[in-house]
Symmetry: none
DNA sequence: CATGAATGAGCGTTCATTCAT
DNA sequence: AATGAATGAACGCTCATTCAT
């Protein structure tokens, strides 16, 4: 049972072009870029855009889902690395750093992170992110690195409106400030 | 000799009504609310809005300035309390908590925080905020509580990304996570 | 039976200030200047402006009437000079030249000339202009200078289309082109 | 390879409908008619207006250009007729008469004539008008009919604010009054 | 009477969305 | 299925006019 539509080859190609163009345009000019501009950037007509995404909302959601997919890929790789001796806290830090870097995707990412709090439809990319992140957190806690009261919700809280600066220095500094709160070292908590 | 124009009693009342309505509407529906809606919420006609604020930009800026004014008041009180034995770190925490609470102002506040990085016109409310916050930081560092490498820019970084939730529990949790990074305890830094 | 209202001294002064300001502003920025701008230029508040002229139309009409008054003054002087041997055709030429010069009043004058076709309320300034101009025409025809078929309507026709340039050279050239059609020399007509 | 875009059949039809409606509306109610009114008169939505003419300015310019195009057609036909024995002065008179008749286009024509003094972009309709008119003038001068000092600028002067009456009688009379100034008969000039 | 703040219809323009080609 | 022209509600803003002070 394929998910409703197998999608012809050229249609799939168009879908990708649109998604890429949308990400770029939204990143470059904020979420208020016109549909026409996105269409032009994708090299298609508006009509085509609407054939793939019935409303602007749908397009934005698809961009976010696309982005979450990549995040999930990264996180699952991180989880895999745990088996080869990598330390969970370091992977978490790397994830945060990567998130902020990607967040050069700026405005769109905000909406994306906001979606982190939304309904995680089973098997959706959000579910994969959630699962992988939870694994990292629990492992980090087992290692004694991550503070025992840390949950997924904390990441939501921190990343919801993460600094969308494209300045690496700012991102690094933000990490420096925020990481202690997640660790046993920085916050000798109830369990310590 | 008031600053340029004494402003008639009823005009001043209207100005306040508009500012209040604008804050509420922007908080409720984001910065894209129509001027007509703000006017309706304020119980005046659009023309009146424009008499007081020549362009939407000016209105938003005024809302932000208004909010910064209150922040400055709070911060200066905090600075004053230092003289009576209050501890700077505690005042900083209180300030952050207050900021998040006020930030039920939601979207508008974001713009405000963003303005923290903007040009601090001398004697403007931003200048007052800056000055007071710097005093708190420096005092906290002299107390040995605040990490020596913390600067005003760090607050900008953190507050820019502050969760604009109106949930007190979330706000408290955010503070718990973020505070360690600002202290010598949480982050035994280079100086320690 | 004074014409409805004797008008207090200061009110009369205000009326004049407004009229002058209106002429200047309309001349300078076209007939679309805002009432506020005219009021400001007159040094009064809009309300005062509306007390004197219930609608913008009335103000413009008053400006035109004012201008016609001056024209009438000039024309009546011209008529008076006929008695001392002045030639009517020359006076007509002088009048046209003066009209064009005044027309540096530009846009407003157009409306004025247009009004020349409007209802000439008895004893109004338009009536004076009409009477004097008719006298000049008839005298010029008696002199054998002005073509016998020329009427007041011809002046309306020509002046309606007068170039509202402030360039004297253009005005002189226009006169050169137009004058022959009004004379027996230039147009050896049916009677000649 | 048409000039940039071939334009779909229906789009071209709409463009014409809009241009026609604009000419009519502007003629009827002056250049300040609302875009909505023009759109309604054309039987399209405002958006369509803006698709064809990005700003009101562009629409008005197009109306003028359209009108100049027709003028140019007429003038070039006149020039062509010179070869078949037609007299230049008569063609000039016919042109003026036609201009005034067309000028029932009223207000729009004013702007058009004003444009006559504007930059004659090469190959634009204005250029064609200029060229043809110059030919007529020069030929008329060679014929000994048109006064030797007459130039294109004189036509600009006369037509700039030509009587936009739609009354044929008025137009004929205006021509009668103005023509002598352009001829050697009416104005026995320096050369005569 | 003068003042100037308030009114609100109207304007030019944009843009998500629809639909004829 | 793709195209891009058409739609029309909505927006920010202006300005002649009214009316409380």
């Amino acid at each position: 049972m394929a998910s409703a539509r197998p999608l012809r080859a050229d249609a799939a190609r168009n879908r990708k072009k649109i998604l890429d163009a949308a990400r770029e345009q939204i990143a470059a000019h904020g979420p208020d870029v016109g549909m026409d501009e996105i269409a032009a950037a994708a090299g298609v007509a508006v009509g085509t855009l609407y054939r793939h995404f019935p409303a602007k909302t749908d397009l934005v959601e698809a961009v976010v889902a696309d982005w979450l997919d990549r995040l999930a890929d990264g996180l699952e790789s991180a989880v895999a690395r745990l088996a080869t001796g990598s330390r969970a806290l370091e992977e978490i830090a790397a994830f945060l750093r990567h998130f902020l870097g990607t967040a050069a995707n700026d405005m769109a990412v905000k909406a994306a992170a906001r979606a982190l709090g939304a309904d995680p439809e089973p098997d959706g990319p959000l579910q994969r992110v959630t699962t992988a992140l939870n694994t990292l957190i629990r492992t980090g806690q087992d290692d004694g690195d991550v503070h025992p009261d840390v949950t997924l919700a904390d990441f939501h809280l921190l990343l919801d409106a993460a600094p969308a600066h494209r300045d690496t220095r700012d991102n690094d500094r933000w990490l420096t400030l925020v990481l202690p709160g997640l660790t046993t070292n920085g916050r000798p908590g109830p369990t310590a």
